[in-house]
Subunit: 459 residues, 2 copies
């Protein structure tokens, strides 16, 4: 059978990795697809020795690759959201399937791109956009396809996880841990996307669209970064049996979908709490499968290439299977979109995304208070007034000469607006000598009981 022809735009880490893995495993990939896959045209200002040796056409103009009639599948690994968007739009318009590793592009422009692809009868595949080498997009769209998914919670930014691991293991400040990440090449020179949670929010928007069949709603993701995290809270959390992880959480509740990225205390017994360093992990809680956990490398040329090529294999199978079909075009136009699942379900589910104020978690609070008789009783009185239960309380003895003690509390689950009202009341106490540090706590053990919100509404 005639080979499937790839156009690859961008020869950065991922593009180069894709060329290399494809070359290395060409025979087994061809056996799995039923046809050889070859790189036909590359968009880049540079080249690679093996591409030159193979006589592959190289164009500095990426759009020339998208317009090349021999290209069956366009692989977009240039990144960014401007040229990448035009490139993907052009490929779709030309009736080509698209594989992209670009989470920012999908999170910000995915709704329009998926709609354009559906109109043209082509597919956009994006395994590489979330969690690198972990095939979580495939798991959600095929392996768990029969499930009602209740929760997706992921360590989906390796840089952030490395920083948290350094802070815990070496007692480092956030700034020192970030510098260590940069020294190892894990963090970009401008690390804002990683440490402020934007990158994780992009990925979470994609995971949630896939898990719940809702449109991509990056703008609705509540995002809190790691930059404010104090190492003492990492240590206090560890002493209480928790790890702090920067999680992206998408959770189905009776009232709507929670979409949030923030530092989170997770009980150490939870396997995801034990995933350290630059590794990624995604926990999926679904009605039939129960909890399943997926761990692996979240970045890097080869792991991301593994994901890009998983999509290439899927789409190549689609091209192979539709070539013999006289009713459809060369590129499988007109093929039902159900074959390779798109991000958007048709029609999209119309479940609202909740404001963070209406999200429900437990909370870790830390503050300093005067070491006087009656202070603790006034504090717990405020909790009681607010109808909020305390799960654990710890008072650290003041250091010699100091008149202040550090108090750490873990609440039971409550809605965020309830907690905020309580914190306001706490801050009003004369006895408090610091601001109240708040970090959300998730046990991740089970989905919310279906009537939890209903009960809160009645309260």
């Amino acid at each position: 059978m005639e080979p499937i022809k790839l156009g690859i735009c961008g020869l950065g880490t991922v593009g180069r990795g894709t060329v290399e893995v494809l070359e290395r495993n060409a025979a087994s990939i061809a056996r799995r697809v039923g046809a050889a896959i070859e790189v036909a045209h590359v968009g880049s200002r540079q080249s690679l020795p093996q591409l030159r040796a193979a006589g592959v056409q190289i164009s500095a103009d990426h759009l020339a690759v998208a317009r090349d009639p021999q290209v069956d599948i366009l692989v977009e690994t240039i990144g960014g959201t401007t040229l990448a968007r035009r490139l993907v739009e052009e490929a779709i318009a030309q009736g080509k399937h698209v594989v992209t590793a670009n989470k920012a592009l999908l999170a910000e422009h995915g709704n329009a791109l998926f709609a354009a692809a559906a109109a043209q009868g082509v597919q956009i595949a994006y395994e590489a956009a979330v969690a690198g080498g972990i095939p979580i997009v495939h798991a959600l769209s095929t392996g768990l396809a029969a499930n009602r998914i209740n929760l997706v919670a992921g360590i989906i930014n390796g840089t952030g996880n490395f920083i948290l691991t350094e802070m815990r293991d070496k007692g480092q400040t956030f700034a020192a841990a970030l510098a260590a990440a940069q020294a190892r090449g894990y963090a970009e020179a401008d690390p804002a996307f990683d440490i402020e949670g934007t990158d994780a929010a992009h990925k979470l928007a994609i995971l949630a669209a896939l898990a719940f069949g809702i449109p991509l709603q990056f703008d609705c993701v509540f995002t809190e970064g790691l930059t404010e995290l104090d190492p003492q809270d990492v240590q206090h959390a560890a002493a209480l049996g928790y790890a702090i992880k920067h999680l992206g959480i998408a959770r189905r509740t009776a009232a709507g979908i929670e979409l949030r990225v923030h530092p989170t205390l997770v009980p150490r017994e939870q396997p995801i709490a034990q995933v350290d360093g630059v590794m990624n992990a995604v926990l999926v809680n679904a009605d039939a499968s129960g909890p399943t956990l997926y761990c692996g490398a979240g970045a890097g040329g080869d792991p991301t290439a593994s994901a890009v090529l998983a999509d290439v294999v899927d789409l190549a199978r689609l091209v192979v299977s539709t070539r013999g079909d006289k009713n459809s075009g060369k590129n499988g136009k007109g093929v039902p979109a159900a074959r390779v699942p798109a991000c958007l379900s048709d029609p999209p589910a119309t479940v609202p995304v909740l404001n963070i104020a209406d999200c429900t978690t437990a909370f870790y609070l830390r503050f300093d208070a005067k070491d006087q008789a009656g202070v603790l009783s006034r504090i717990t009185g405020l909790f009681s007034d607010a109808g909020l239960s305390v799960e654990a309380i710890q008072q650290r003895e003041p250091t010699a000469g100091s008149q202040e003690a550090t108090i750490i509390m873990i609440t039971q689950r409550a809605r965020e607006w309830e907690l905020r009202r309580l914190v306001q009341a706490l801050q009003g106490l004369d006895a408090l000598t610091s601001r109240v540090v708040v970090i959300r706590v998730e046990d991740l053990n089970c989905a919310e009981s279906p009537d939890e919100h209903a009960q809160s509404e009645e309260a």
Copy 2:
């Protein structure tokens, strides 16, 4: 679009779970497939209220379901290898796709069944045959499709893992832990398949065929059960920083494929070592993705139904996409097998499976020896003669009044025949007062260096 029609044979835990999950999530499944999926015919001597209410045809004769012309996909959940085999053969002969949860059937008769399916242009899908709700078959066949897989290592029998967790946490004997598993309903009245490793060997044969493209070779799996495991070794291993797990390991080496199921010491830092109780987990080490780990429930009605229905969704997409194709029959006959990957690659890889004597691991040894001067030196001398290095050695002081000490050694990696020769030499020492207990050790950290076997050959 006309619904896709299922025949389900067997209404045990998995069959019932399949009916229930399908009913519960019918709307979202239909959205994912592009057509409704309905149960058209059930093979069983009993029925279920919802099946009666829906007017589903029930036949005590399973073969009647396989012969029902309206059935698109046959789901086999009766278990066993005699009737199940006839049933699957009949369904294939009738041009129906088959979904099965039956690892014994595939491991023992899969080569013939996959060949028959290929000849008929239909698919056999079997996500549920391995690791229950964990979509590991999908991960290996699609998500990691571009990789060269080097190692698959799995906790693929939940009963065995529960027993090991009880032995470690409660210091129980194997017999007491097995009784606890039976009391909780985890182990069958006849637990032989679980505790002797046959069930894990069935699953490993399937995983290896998928990972390496080799034929199913259940007969070549070296299998060692849990029945001989002494609780003191579980405790010694823990003290040395290892967990003992009953692993199924399929490993690519330069000389061939290792296929083995046995109790294994795994360093506690390895995430798979932390998977306890009835949970399953599969570690895959592949050239591009690097290590990825998949954890979840390995058994139970709902998790297994999740896997059965993942396959049903795949095959239903295939039926939908081929219905419009005038060149092919109603059930997608003649469709390239590449679309939904079969277990057997075509042509199958011709890599030999190694005899256990030629497999390479590290080893844990325990024995008692007289507490005399010079004994340890004679023992280490034997290691040195055998060219085997010692990684760790621990001598437990004899209890008061005893003249014997317990010695625990961990060797570096060696081929099993080298270790056996050494053990024979050890047993010949007068100073040894017990037999030598041997348990294999795997760090699972990396694939073997490519020339490891070559070096051994030269030695």
